[in-house]
Every structure is written in C-alpha cells, then in structure tokens.
Symmetry: C2
Subunit: 113 residues, 2 copies
C-alpha cells in the first residue's frame, strides 16, 4: 500500500492534534500575544498541566515563551511562531480532509446500530 492511499488520520500530527495543545495553538491564533494565566483559565488547566504542554510546543519550535513583569508581578506570555502557524494550518487541513469523509447523515441517530 502506498502512502498516497493512507487514511487522512495518518496525516494528523500528535504534537499539534493533542486536545490541550490544539486548544493552546487555536487560542494563540486568536490572541497574538497571550498571557499564560489567560490560557490556563480559558482552557481550564492547572499551571503544571499547561506548563507541560507549552514545553512540548516550545521544544517543537511552535511557540515562544517570554517572561517579564507587569505591575511588578512576574508574567509569562506566549506567542505562535511562523512554524506554529504553519503546523496549525496543516492540522486544520488534515481535520477538514478527515471530517469531509463522513457526512452528518452517516451519524444520524435514526440508524439501527
């Protein structure tokens, strides 16, 4: 079987597709420079959990992390890199390929299962 015949699910990248990381990337596409605390609260995460996923994204070069101060309190900001933007674009493309394979009709509750 050639790669051309692979199911579109094969094109999904775990680094980007994972639920929390996908949420982070989508939020950073919406908010160009986003505070760590904003991401944590909107995505209903703990500091530790968000930290772990941000580290994975930073290691992959998809986000940058900037530490600084705001009103004398330490703050962390996150930003999508150009590679992060590309990776998110590829994920959205792969998801579209995947979801167009099934129509809503296929998932109707009326069918006997």
């Amino acid at each position: 079987m050639t790669d051309a015949a692979a199911h579109p699910a094969v094109a999904l990248d775990d680094i980007v597709h994972q639920r929390v990381r996908l949420g982070i990337l989508v939020m950073l596409a919406e908010i160009p420079e986003c505070a760590f605390a904003t991401l944590r609260d909107e995505l209903r995460l703990t500091n530790g959990n968000l930290n772990r996923h941000v580290q994975v994204l930073a290691d992959a070069g998809l986000v940058t992390v900037t530490k600084g101060y705001q009103s004398n309190r330490p703050r962390t900001w996150l930003k999508l890199t150009r590679d992060g933007r590309r990776a998110l674009h590829a994920e959205l493309h792969a998801l579209a390929q995947l979801t167009t394979r099934i129509s809503t009709a296929d998932l109707s509750d009326d069918e006997q299962t």
Copy 2:
C-alpha cells in the same frame, strides 16, 4: 468564570479526539462493519497499537468487537455503536466550533511572527 465561557477546546473528549481513535471512529462511520486488518493497514498501525486503542473505545462503549472466522482463518470485525456514533458527532461539532474561531487568513504565512 462560568462553563459557558469555556474555550471550545474544553469540549473535546480525549477518548474520541486522540489521533488514532479518531481515525478508527471515522473509518467505522465510513465502513459499517470493518475488519481489524483493514483498520490496521489503512491507519498504518501495528496489531498491538490498534488493539490498545480498540480496547479503550470498547471499554467506553463506543465500538463492538466481533470475533469469527473467514475461510477458516480467525478474523475480527469492529462496528460503531449508537453511543460511538453520537460521540463522533459531538467531536465533529466541537472541532467545527474550534476551527471556525480562526480563519485561514489568521494563519497566512505573510504575517510577521
């Protein structure tokens, strides 16, 4: 912050969203009764990896596993349950909510990052 304000990424369910499992569910929506070997080959998985993810989906009541014989050789078939169909529908809805928050323009390479 109320749940109504939660980011759509919060609505994604890890059981369904995980890359391999999402691939399995989408394939079962396309092929009503699918052979284990077909899923394994199309999704580029090993027997062990597919087995592990099928177990998670079966434990959650989203797929049924039927063992039998075809031409005297043992075969395993998988089928989406009604709950599996609903869960996949909910995932597609959550993904649509998520992806409509960012337009392709937001991800253009022309932007300075």
